[in-house]
């Protein structure tokens, strides 16, 4: 229970937490499990990048603000116009989510101890359902669907032969592979022109 709460207090980025718990439950090595969780957290760096421009926080404040750089705070702050509104959005969303996230984690941990066998209640299906719900809005283009499909094949195909936790990391290779193929296809189409790689959403 302390470990569950520490995870929410210290890590505070949902997908990584679920990934870590799932990998450990499957008997993964702690560092392999942590690596998978870490890769899922990498996207937060890109939120931070955009937030640092819109929030324009003093350097001294940044280490404290960093823990709140997550999907939700980025979504709210970046939707605001003006620095003041963005800062308020970031602060309010960050504080509310941090408090509620950790309170509900505590309730969940207490509840799980009370329930006992969580499998009988179908709670082991909650993990993949959470991942699927996070994944669904990301599958906008063919490239994303290709990455997802390749990752599923790699993740399941390598499961019987590699140590626990490693297949997921190997499945992450689907991203650079598809990116490489995408780059080559575009280079083929725009042959002769200079490929600047500019094609932002």
């Amino acid at each position: 229970m302390w470990q569950t709460c520490a995870l929410s207090l210290l890590v505070f980025t949902g997908a990584s937490q679920f990934a870590l718990v799932g990998a450990l439950a499957a008997g993964g090595n702690p560092l392999t499990a942590a690596a998978g969780a870490f890769f899922l957290g990498v996207r937060n760096a890109f939120y931070g990048l955009r937030l640092s421009q819109s929030l324009a926080l003093p350097r001294a404040v940044r280490p404290f603000a960093a823990q709140w750089v997550i999907d939700e705070t980025a979504a709210v702050s970046l939707a605001q116009t003006g620095r003041r509104a963005a800062r308020i959005g970031f602060g309010v969303t960050g504080l509310t989510l941090y408090v509620l996230w950790n309170l509900t984690t505590l309730l969940g941990a207490l509840g799980a101890e009370a329930i006992g066998n969580t499998d009988a209640w179908g709670l082991d299906a909650a993990g993949p359902a959470v991942f699927l719900a996070l994944l669904a809005p990301m599958l906008k283009t063919t490239a994303e669907r290709a990455v997802a499909g390749l990752a599923v094949v790699l993740g399941l195909g390598l499961l019987p032969v590699l140590p626990a936790g490693v297949p997921v990391l190997t499945a992450a290779l689907a991203a650079p592979v598809v990116l490489y193929l995408e780059g080559r296809r575009r280079a083929g189409r725009t042959a002769g022109r200079v490929d600047t790689g500019e094609e932002e959403r």
Partner: protein, 102 residues
Amino acid sequence: MNTWIAIGATALGCYAVKLAGLLVPAGLLERPRVRRFAALLPVALLAALTAQQTFADGHALVLDARAAGLAAALVALILRAPFLLVVAAAVVVTAGVRALGG
């Protein structure tokens, strides 16, 4: 103890990338390729995790009540149900199938 190591490593790593985004000069991360890669990485990880947590039992691939639960979640997602309802659908259907002996 192992669990604490994993928690510590994850906490440090995740905090470091959050902070890096706020501190690193914009030029490095603004390159389209880097951004594209960062967008695709979670797609790969989430897809693999979803599949494994549904069909894996240790090192073996199995088809059990969790698959029915995930199918229910998928239907809920297609119907644009809110996040909690999606998860609830998976849990309820999985428990139901198990209770029926699936």
